[in-house]
Subunit: 614 residues, 2 copies
């Protein structure tokens, strides 16, 4: 009586009960609820369940047998015929001329609609792409299922189970709060009491609770620009008056545009999405400003900002006047499917957040909280953190090197690698959305920067490349594909040689020019490097402001091309370029005749040039 297919019959809808039963059953077949080959409910059971005479059901079934939907097996009852779904669907397509409310009608009734769809940022099939350079995706190398399994087993064990499984109250897992309080927060320079910590289901829920409390329609707030699109949209849905404040090399700009703003949302440890680190001076300036404006700062400190290189302490660590509400998370990499975050704020604020949370969601599931706590207590969290940090660090370096190799004069990146992604500024004229779209067709995913900016038309030529979803050995090939796409999309006005009217130097001219010369170039991340081109065919390369990175190599000329090979740099691969000199500019073109790289040519001292010409 309790289980199994049931439906409601409507005496007033015009069809006989038999016909309605038939329709419902056909619908059940079409939708997969009653699977082909499965047994239909017995007429007695179904009749009792839907409240009609058994004969009515029997008659309906007889009709369905006649129509070919059901078939009888001797002494066994009626079964749904195989190969039926098609028949059923055709039937339903005719029947569905009854009007469901159209999508437009529904949308008209909605009070709030997201203008953007961040739910599609990561496609479900992302892992099928060869080169998914998206933040937030993790490939198998980085996920930590063994640790999670261990912590889960511990959570279910006799010793632990009773401690959390009976907790139906709204309080958070004590062990998790204690681990965060005594291990995680001190590393960020933050001291907090247990009642100043609230566990959330990730940073998004934390932001939701904070905005519920402190932001309403007309509230004047400020966010970073470029910044977090989800936050911007969340504030828009709340009806807030949101000012997008620019970022510079030290983080969010602190000036009078922040006056009158009651809440400022920042990501100081590692700016999302550009990766900028907020300097100490800027942090102080921001805290002074909010003190003067009697405002709050909401700090979001993503755990991913701890990947790559060393993190600065949290802004909250310098928060002497208690104006910072601190949000952070425990990333999914530390336990697949574990999504936990937390807020650190004065106890009065945490109390209010707990109340709002009880309306909107309730506490994070108990098992997940305890598993998170055990991951930390058992040491898995730190072990996984370190492992991931090393892996990500390697991948960031690989990405930087690949960008430098394949796109040397086309892109700019920050020299300091951090987090799990690189913010790439493309050449003026590049539309990164077009690039992303074309790249996706070739198996490569990147994130155009426009989505991070408040205003239309900003950040058009920039994009973000995350490394957490791409194993290190695929990074360089991926960037090669990206470079190809960029070139294919390239502006015809870009520097391109004309094959019909060759303007490049001949082999002999190259040799004469290069012997004893010095080349001055820059990497994509702004570091200068010099190349001594020796008459004996050797290259001496020195990079970095302190020449901390050096290499040696060879050069020669072949078929009117300048050829060079480093021992280590550029993967030790041979490159061949057409060469053009304009004043002190030297320009190199690959076989596709598009400008590939350029530098400054410092010719050999006259005596050397003569000596080699001799």
């Amino acid at each position: 009586m309790r289980d199994g297919l049931t439906f409601v019959l409507d005496e007033e809808n015009g069809l006989s009960l038999q016909q309605q039963i038939r329709e419902h059953l056909i619908r059940a077949v079409a939708s997969g609820t009653l699977k082909p080959g499965s047994r239909a409910p017995s007429s007695r059971t179904l009749a009792k369940r839907i409240g009609v005479a058994r004969n009515t059901v029997i008659l309906a079934y007889q009709q369905l047998v006649a129509d070919g939907y059901l078939t009888g097996k001797e002494r066994s009852g009626l079964y749904v015929c195989e190969d039926l779904a098609e028949v059923a669907s055709r039937h339903l397509r005719k029947a569905d001329e009854s009007e469901p409310r159209s999508a437009a009608t529904w949308r008209a009734q909605m009070k709030r609609r997201s203008r953007v769809d961040w739910s599609r940022r990561i496609p479900p099939d992302w892992s099928l792409y060869p080169y998914p350079f998206l933040e937030g995706c993790l490939d198998a190398e980085l996920s930590s299922v063994a640790e999670w399994r261990d912590a889960t087993r511990a959570a279910l064990g006799a010793r632990e189970f009773g401690k959390w499984s009976m907790n139906f109250s709204e309080s958070d897992d004590e062990k998790l709060v204690e681990e965060i309080r005594t291990k995680i927060l001190p590393r960020r320079g933050v001291q907090a009491a247990a009642d100043e910590i609230l566990i959330t289901e990730g940073w998004k829920q934390a932001l939701d609770l904070v905005t519920q409390l402190f932001v309403d329609s007309g509230s004047r707030v400020a966010i970073e620009d470029p910044g977090l699109p989800e936050l911007r949209e969340l504030l828009r849905l709340q009806g807030a008056d949101t000012w997008p404040q620019p970022i510079d090399g030290e983080g969010i700009v602190v000036d009078n545009a922040l006056n009158g703003r009651s809440v400022v949302f920042v990501t100081p440890t590692r700016q999302a999405p550009t990766g900028t680190h907020m300097s100490r001076a800027r942090r102080k300036a921001l805290l002074r400003k909010v003190e003067a404006e009697d405002a709050l700062v909401v700090e979001i400190d993503f755990v991913t900002s701890g990947f790559g290189e060393k993190r600065l302490p949290a802004l909250k660590a310098a928060d002497a006047h208690e104006r910072v509400v601190y949000i952070s998370d425990l990333c999914e990499v530390f336990g697949p499917g574990l999504r936990l975050g937390f807020v650190v704020a004065p106890a009065a604020v945490v109390r209010e957040m707990r109340k709002v949370r009880s309306l909107l969601a309730g506490p994070a599931p108990r098992a997940a909280q305890r598993i998170g706590a055990l991951l930390m207590a058992l040491g898995h969290y730190d072990a996984a953190s370190n492992r991931v940090r090393r892996a990500i660090g390697g991948r960031l370096t690989a990405l930087r090197d690949a960008l430098n190799y394949h796109l040397p004069h086309l892109v700019l990146i920050d020299p300091q690698l951090s987090g799990a992604s690189i913010w790439v500024t493309g050449p003026p004229g590049l539309d990164a959305r077009l690039l992303a779209s074309e790249a996706a067709a070739r198996g490569l995913l990147i994130e155009p920067a426009t989505r991070f900016y408040a205003r239309e038309g900003e950040g058009v030529s920039a994009f973000r490349m995350g490394v957490s979803g791409v194993p290190v050995e695929r990074i360089r090939p991926g960037v090669a594909v990206l470079a190809q796409v960029m070139r294919d999309l390239g502006d015809p006005a870009l520097d391109r040689l004309d094959a019909k009217r060759p303007s490049w130097l001949s082999g002999a001219e190259i040799e004469a020019l290069m012997c004893g010369a010095t080349l001055l170039c820059r990497t994509v991340y702004g570091d200068p490097y010099s190349v001594e081109v020796r008459p004996d065919g050797k290259l001496i390369g020195k990079a970095g402001y302190a020449h901390e990175d050096c290499d040696e190599g060879e050069w020669w000329v072949e078929d009117d091309r300048w050829c060079r090979r480093w021992n280590v740099w550029s993967y030790g691969e041979t490159a061949r370029y057409f060469t053009v000199v304009e004043g002190d500019q030297i320009k190199w073109y690959k076989d596709d005749l598009v400008l590939f790289n350029r530098g400054v040519l410092v010719p050999a001292a006259p005596d050397l040039a003569e000596a080699s010409a001799a």
Copy 2:
């Protein structure tokens, strides 16, 4: 460099760097971050981490040794002294005259504050209470950890793991959606396509998403009264104009008060909190009304409504004009710490909800979704459902019987048992909040009904008793305690005999009166029963409208008390009462002289009375 205690020094704050280091370390000791007996960071490491000269740290450490906070162990470094926390706390109490922002200042800045604190509904120590009659608590008998463990193991196994662990997109677990679509929904009479289902983290999140889409400031909506307090508060925070529509014996009243309401929130399967079932006629009336008003219905169908007895199909099953947004959940009992819910709505609505969800929360954690799906696919969900349903059914019956036994004329309940709680109406003049408070002091938890009503002063004498947290053998003792509390709190104006002026019948009078008489009484749930009092000392009892429940027993007189014992009824226990007759009313009093029960006395036919007197 990456791990370990760190803090931020402030050149401008007036204290020397040494003093600041000292303060931070004392704070770390006081808060438990640096535990007594643990090793202090080496001066070299700490200096590098916080960015000062090593000597500065050494000097700070020397001072801390002198103050008794640190102690040196030979060749091993400095250690935090034991028995220190007290010293540190005292120190901090002096230091904290610097003003943190007061709680009042913070609250003044909040835009929205919950007027009620539902986060405290279930106390964290609820399981320590002997009689926690609260909805939402589950005792060990009902929780299903073995099943959950099994499903978790399967989710982590080679065959399953890859299918969900790489899903960082916003799509929901396909397997879970399919299980819900083909197993859960058909039992509720609901047919849906996969894109008409959205997985949420419980029903609260589902409600949050629905209200985000369809309700804003000034929206005119209607809810049931009494109803869900969390929903009422959520709507208030949204600024909605919420009308509390009354309930009667068939569910929410459908009348012109619903005109102009754009959304109506209902719990038709089993009204929360009263347990009323919405009749078929009322469902049709509601659907006609919303069609006429071009409104929506949000239906919340709690899984707990499936406990106890049979459930009616969902309202959505009768929703021919597509006006119902259906919310349900997969209860926590089916996997400790698994909190999942779902929405069934037209695909256009689900798409918008997914977008909003991506801003506020993201999808439910992957592991939890897959574990939920496996619980269903492996058959555990159904097995656990049935087991819980039987257990809860037994407990509800036990509660009904206990209420009938201990509080026969004081309370009223619905005869139909369902869900996992009983809605109890106490006598007029009872303040259930007082009752709850006093009962809690005696180890018994109940939920006063006032919290479910929109208006002050309503539902004062009613309360809800949940059975999911109380094993069946504790139900009767619990109700005994409740009865005692109720009597202790009782109105002195209540019917009470005066021990000094006895007005009760003597033993002989009782015997003369009762022989051959018939008693007519009612249970707390409104069923009539009759008792034939035979001259030979036998009792024949017949209860229920069809006399479906009968029993036999004995009666006798002892010490001026009417004594009776049933074979089965009243737990087969002997009861002794003082008896008073007023007209055709017979009243019984226990030894505390307070009225315990009453009935109608139909005296013996005259010839019988004479025969027994002879």
